[in-house]
Symmetry: none
Amino acid sequence: MSAREAASPLQLCRIMRPDDANIVGNVHGGIILKIIEEAGCIVSTRHCNTQNGDRCLAALVRVEKTEFLSPVFIGEVAHVTAEITYTSKHSLEVQVKVIAENILTGAKKLANKAALWYVPCSLQNVDKIMEVPPIKYASEDQEEEGRKRYEAQKMERLETKARIEEVVPSPPNPEDPPKEQYTVGFSQSTLIHLVGPSDCILHDYVHGGVTMKLMDEVAGIAAARHCNTNIVTASVDAINFHRKIRKGCVVTVTGRLTFVSNKSMEIEVLVDASSLTEEEKGKYRAVSAFFTFISLDKFNKPLPVPALKIEGEEEQRRFEEGKARYLQNKAKRLADKERQQ
Amino acid sequence: MSAREAASPLQLCRIMRPDDANIVGNVHGGIILKIIEEAGCIVSTRHCNTQNGDRCLAALVRVEKTEFLSPVFIGEVAHVTAEITYTSKHSLEVQVKVIAENILTGAKKLANKAALWYVPCSLQNVDKIMEVPPIKYASEDQEEEGRKRYEAQKMERLETKARIEEVVPSPPNPEDPPKEQYTVGFSQSTLIHLVGPSDCILHDYVHGGVTMKLMDEVAGIAAARHCNTNIVTASVDAINFHRKIRKGCVVTVTGRLTFVSNKSMEIEVLVDASSLTEEEKGKYRAVSAFFTFISLDKFNKPLPVPALKIEGEEEQRRFEEGKARYLQNKAKRLADKERQQ
Amino acid sequence: MSAREAASPLQLCRIMRPDDANIVGNVHGGIILKIIEEAGCIVSTRHCNTQNGDRCLAALVRVEKTEFLSPVFIGEVAHVTAEITYTSKHSLEVQVKVIAENILTGAKKLANKAALWYVPCSLQNVDKIMEVPPIKYASEDQEEEGRKRYEAQKMERLETKARIEEVVPSPPNPEDPPKEQYTVGFSQSTLIHLVGPSDCILHDYVHGGVTMKLMDEVAGIAAARHCNTNIVTASVDAINFHRKIRKGCVVTVTGRLTFVSNKSMEIEVLVDASSLTEEEKGKYRAVSAFFTFISLDKFNKPLPVPALKIEGEEEQRRFEEGKARYLQNKAKRLADKERQQ
């Protein structure tokens, strides 16, 4: 394949699905950005592999400022064109254009234009940056303009690199002091989820199974943060679903360790829902439950779990309650075993 | 269809996919719970619609304590059997069994047994609870045992209902005071995402497009929380990707409003990554960027945005910087327009 | 837009993700079928809306027999080209070609060629079939060949329509004793899917590609159970879509082995749909088809397949019919080869 061919534009298209959009039907900007990057990654990885040497993957290092020029809706087809427009020794620029087509009316509109910079990393050693095969330019002017864009973005990347390294890796709220390891606060985790169409199939309300999946996810993250190992769900206490969660709500799911035995962790999971558009209803607790996780080694054998550092009366109370549940379950398991014998 | 037939067990199976599991190959408990609930919802919705009257959906109200008896792995087939085992006037119990089959060796193991309680809600009016058609029992004993389970769970649901309603709908950290509306803290949003196989296709590192999608998601939630309307992405400032994010990491994405003009909101999005299993590496800032959102009415026309209540010097400084970016972009747009004329 | 333009080919591409493949890395045939159908649906819906009158959606009514010519792997890019090749008054034929590209090595291979028939349904009233705008042909011969294909498929669709309505669907019975290995009952598999919003994008009816993906999944499970090895889709017999499936329906997909040769397995897949809430309408057979799978060793070389233990007259009859199809296809392949020499 000649350099010219390799650099030929790539076209991809995809129909916009209900899950790509908010409840009013507007496709999320993030979906458009993801498709743009997929096209950029394909065209630049393909180009960087048109030479001898290590096989490589083009890694995204920068996206230039981009404007969303027209909204895109469910059922429209997004046509994405990606073209390599400049190559330096170790990086390349891809310009991408997104046109949204309504296939029922034939109407087309420009939805987005973006410029992305990629760097080829060796698949043998990701820290090794490969050389980029040069492209041919239609004119000297074109090459010169590309060089200017290259210099400008290089300078900006260096500047922000300096700035980002100043920032102390920080919890969401930078005023909070960092938490000590093995405390409840250290592993406490929160996720938010915007309820989408596939979460509510028969109805406008979230299926209970969707909520339980999110609960298990956040409990698993809290457990893994506590013990830094492979963890699996061992059991779930009874869960009551008191309040329904409607499509378009934001669900906040928080997991925090309450009790730790020698070989298991109990995580309390709280699910709060709030409507983004019906302000008056406020935030409400929809579900809560206790998940028990165990830590496994690479042969799937249980590992000991680090002790939990308790801070304050509230945590102490929750720990005692967790211990009572743990002892009760243990007694029940023993009784069941005896009965079976 | 007679009541007898409608109550006949439901069998479904699904193969476990890479995205259902953690990086070691263990299927997440949450995936199993989600499949269990799907089977329960189908069998009970079908049963409750075998009579005249409003069409209805069975809504999950309770899951009994459940144990994960054996781990399930990618490539195994989960066989789920769901059977209605008790009906009261307004609720029904479904017992579900999950058997995991290794289709390469033929080995089967019991992975989970669960009991779920559903209540039929009218599709015309979700607050109207419908009656449940009775099932036939194999014996009087069977019916009697079901009645006992029904009474026991009813009592527990009432108890936790009282308890849950005491709980003040609260922020993740219940010690924090609630935030005042229109402040930065009020709309600040954080999501966590566990990097899975489909986020890293060619490599063990997250594709940039996946990160941008998460960034847009959290920015959109912060924007919607601030103005309680339909919001869309208007533009994204240049984004630099300084550090790669590896498979198995937890990504924490935080969005906070920095500046608000009459018709737009600027949201700063911070992406931090941390490995769950390689403790030494700690948490690091991988990406940060500014997203601009606008608020739309139902005809997709821009709406005014509520002013941002600034608290403290840090927020004031970020507001001024955001204002400078806003004015600079506005000047640039005007210059571009003039040049084109 | 002129008729000429509208009928211009459509190109789409997508990178293959871990979730698209089995644990050995082979992309499922069902994923390829789903992408093929997405391209076919876009190009034909776009074409049928290039005229005045009701806006319409092209609904898939038939896929011609298709062979999977080369396996596709995770990380490869599937390039799909779809072109309208014949139009009758009320239907149109789309020919689709799938080329898999390894963007690391530049290697390309033809993965699949398929022909799909669509019928335009009005979005106001799905039972109203619209007229199809005619395309221009490069030559009279081309048009004449298209007309022959049209007549042939029309006759076959009428025939299978009569046949499909006889079949009585039989539900699985979990009380039955365990089946002996290598019997039809041993590997028979059923999968249940609740039709969600993303299965029905432009309409309230399931896209044909979604159904084909489910069919391939269940056929693959049945095949793997029979031979306990890595299996891949080798070909799919012509599929006719007789009845539409609506959002909110439960789809039951059953796969059972009908015939086994030395190196291949034929699996009959039956798709039944039923509404959960409108039980009176009953369950109906929506689609049925024959999939052929082969068993591979770890070097992707074909393995011998265990013989099928036949029980009863019904199974014997289906086996004979499968054998006839197998011999007919083999004869056809030989004839094609001779003609090419």
